[in-house]
Structures are given as C-alpha cells and as structure tokens.
Symmetry: C2
C-alpha cells in the first residue's frame, strides 16, 4: 500500500482524507509540521509552495491542503485569508458586508498540493458553488459552514456526511487519490 503524509494540524481533514485514500488503496498518515504559507490571491500558489517546502524539510512525499471562501459580490473576499477573516470579523462580519447584496454567489475552493522530496508540486483543485445565506443556520461543520448555502441547506445543516460528498475539499482530494493510485511510487 502506498503511503502519503498529510501535513496538517486539522484532524477533521485527516479523517476525510484517510477514508478516501482507503477506497483507492492509499494510506494517508498525518504529520504536524508548520510549513510556510504564502500570501497570494491564488490557492494553487500557496499549496504549491507549502508542499515543496514541507516535502523538502520532512524528506517525504507529502500533501498539504489550502481552502477559502470566495464571494462574488465582495470581489473574492475573504479568499485565501478566510481563516484570519473568520477569526476576526467572523460570520457576523460577512453577513453585515452582504446585507444589501442581491448577488449572493460564493465558491468554496480547495487546493491540494502533492510533492516528493526535491520535486515540483502537483496541484489538484476542487470547487463547490453555493450562496451566502441571510443568517447562520445549522450546528455542524466549522468556519463559514453555517452561512454557506448549498441546495437550500447550509453546510452547517448538512452535517459532515452530507457535506463531504459534495465539498470542495472532497473533490480536490478525490482527484489526488485517483491520480496517485495510478502512479508508480
């Protein structure tokens, strides 16, 4: 069985990746390591740099994952800085900024970067389209899940099982495990 190290401190992400990996005969193991995260408008660039730094430092084949919420009416805010924005102004701040906006469209995006020591990273992406709700709804998930509407329910209402089948992160990780499954490592 092939082994790939997932560099993250987020156990939720690891759980999801492990389950997916199993279907494709890939073992996903977690490593905690603080790789440098770049500032960039583009998640691909952030994941690429992070994966290359982490695989060089750890001398292992690794994946890293970066994600963000991109709201059309706010010109892609909060985008790559979703974590900091959530920590500071939170869902309340987003709802305030969206109060008078008719265009509610938003994308959750994920980029998974895979890199072998000394190599160049390969990027796998996933996007889910939804809308920003008018108020928080649901108790599941984390971050922006309670304000991200997908088919009339928020990710906060969908629950982990429902969300994981359609999520940006699931789509990106699925592309990765499908690809690595066919690769001779």
């Amino acid at each position: 069985m092939k082994t790939v190290y997932f560099v993250t401190g987020n156990m939720g992400k690891v759980k999801e990746a492990k389950a997916l990996g199993k279907e494709f005969n890939i073992e996903i193991q977690q490593i905690e390591y603080e790789y440098p995260e770049l500032q960039s408008d583009d998640l691909d660039i952030i994941a690429k740099y992070g994966a290359e730094c982490a695989s060089r430092a750890l001398n292992k084949a690794v994946i890293v994952e970066d994600a963000g919420l991109f709201i059309s009416a706010l010109r892609e805010f909060p985008g790559p800085y979703s974590a900091y924005v959530f920590k500071t102004i939170g869902n309340e701040g987003i709802l305030q900024l969206m109060a008078n906006q008719k265009d509610r469209r938003a994308d959750f995006k994920s980029a998974v970067g895979y890199c072998e020591p000394g190599g160049e990273a390969i990027i796998f992406t996933g996007t889910v389209r939804g809308e920003i709700a008018h108020e928080t709804r649901g108790e599941h998930g984390f971050g922006y899940d309670p304000i991200f509407l997908y088919d009339d329910r928020t990710f906060g209402e969908l629950g982990i099982g429902g969300k994981n089948k359609v999520s940006h992160r699931y789509k990106a990780l699925k592309k990765f495990v499908e690809w690595i499954g066919t690769k001779d490592i």
Copy 2:
C-alpha cells in the same frame, strides 16, 4: 556611503526611504524582486522571512517593508492582509463593518526587515495610533489613508509631507537608518 537595497515595487516607499537615508549618510537603492510573503498574524514574521529570502536570492544587504491596519473593535482586522482586503471590500467595506462600533481605535503598523546574505534578519517596527473615521476624507495618500484619523485629520487630508513625519513606516525606517548608520558594513 553605505548602500542598502530596498526590495519593493512601490516608488512612494522608496522616495520616503531615500530622503530619510540621506540624513544618515545611507544610500537607499530600489530593487524590484518578488520575494515570498508569508501568511502570519505578525508583521515581524512576514518581514523577517521576506528579507532573508530576498537577501539570499539577490546576494545583497536588503530591506523589505510590510504594513497593515489593525482595528481594535474588529479584533485586528484587516491586519497583515490589508492589501487584499483593500482590493476587495475597500474603505467602503471597512466603514460598513464599523457602522455601529463606538470603539474606533486603530493602529497602522510597519515592520522593516534588514538582512545580509546568509544572515538572520533584524526587524524595526513603527506604529501610529489613530481612529477610523465615519466617512472617507481627503484626496492624498493611498489605501486606508482617507479613513485613518490622526489628530482630527485623516491621513488622506494630511498630505504626504504631514503624514510622513508621523507615519508608522517613517518610524520603522527611521529606527533602521539610525541603527545602520552606527554599524560597520
């Protein structure tokens, strides 16, 4: 005369640094080079990493500068991501988020990182305290200047001359040129 390279694409910053350098017999020269900017809550960490990468890549003694607006009532938003936030939600978005806030306090912060090839960066910081105005005022400056109140006038009203004497960036650069003036390089 000592020469230090300022790695930036911003001619305004270069002009300010050159004028300051002259007073201390330091020649500041601009270099354009895209060094990696980290994601971090802490400007010092961003400036340190950037200065070390740039000085290594260019094989020169360099400075880089990073700045941000930290609003108390918004838990330090937009902070290190001020440029992206300005580009997306802008001053209009900030005023909207601050509409019902009584606590208007905000800090403009700057971190200058100096590094010699192969060395570790040294950081010089500057802060200016002000308040967020209730509307944009003034035609000078750039970015958040028209909403940053300092002594009853916004940085947008103060004009470059007035702003530069009190600004976060001026304070950080001044510490740097004073220090480098005494150093044997």
